[in-house]
Symmetry: C2
Subunit: 148 residues, 2 copies
């Protein structure tokens, strides 16, 4: 079995950029994922616009992000109320966010909200989970010539 292609040839999605885990207590989650599971911390960032405080962990070929709620209208708080802690989102890198959204719109796949800024100041956009079998699928655009 072929495991994966390293980079997709012509599709909308280039590669998985990160997965996000909703956690109630960011410090407790950091201790577990870093001190016990052995993931290396890359960065920590508060994203008030997203209602999220994030700890970015190195997962080798992508990142694992621990996402704690920030503020009253946090989507993480809503997720925790509804489902409890666990996998909350999967983010894929696209070459051109606007072109990707246009191609998806032609196929009837809707954004959840207009593009905004995510961790690292990157342009991001979430797709509607009703259009992705329940997955909160994020699109991430890196600036050209961004280091890996």
């Amino acid at each position: 079995m072929k495991r994966y292609a390293e980079a997709l040839p012509a599709g909308i999605f280039r590669r998985l950029d990160h997965i996000g885990v909703a956690v109630a207590d960011l410090e407790a989650a950091r201790r577990r994922y870093v001190d016990l599971l052995g993931f290396v911390e890359l960065a920590r960032e508060a994203l008030p616009e997203q209602g999220v405080e994030a700890i970015l962990l190195d997962a080798g070929n992508c990142r694992l992000e621990l996402l704690g709620p920030l503020g009253e209208a946090s989507p993480i708080a809503r997720f925790l109320d509804k489902r409890g802690e666990g996998l909350q989102q999967a983010a894929f890198e696209v070459a051109d966010l606007d072109a990707a959204l246009a191609a998806l719109a032609e196929r009837g796949i809707r954004p959840l909200a207009p593009p905004s800024r995510g961790a690292g100041g990157l342009r991001i956009c979430f797709l509607h989970p009703r259009d992705t079998h329940g997955v909160l699928l994020e699109l991430v655009e890196y600036p050209a010539a961004s280091p890996r």
Copy 2:
């Protein structure tokens, strides 16, 4: 910001191998993820031992697996009943499954069940979600010199 390391230096987990999405209707999910979202299908496999029928999609640097319920005692069916469709698991490659489980056990992190066989006949083991902030975290061991 450093995006990721390509391969983790000394930790238990080498890289993200795949994420799994629980879906009620595997054919409908395949049409959406392949025909509309543009992922390339790598393989399709029934895994009665896991209570899963899986469609493996290329996600560039890892795989996206669509997981439909198979049989009465399917964990996918239980997941769908409880949470509906969506992200169900995240699987990380380890060099040596038994060594990884021993190291985790020393840190109080428990397997959900003994190791078994997953897609491609690979040895796998799930960790207890109570020990990972709600993530159904799978460990995958590839045979030495396995092609990527």
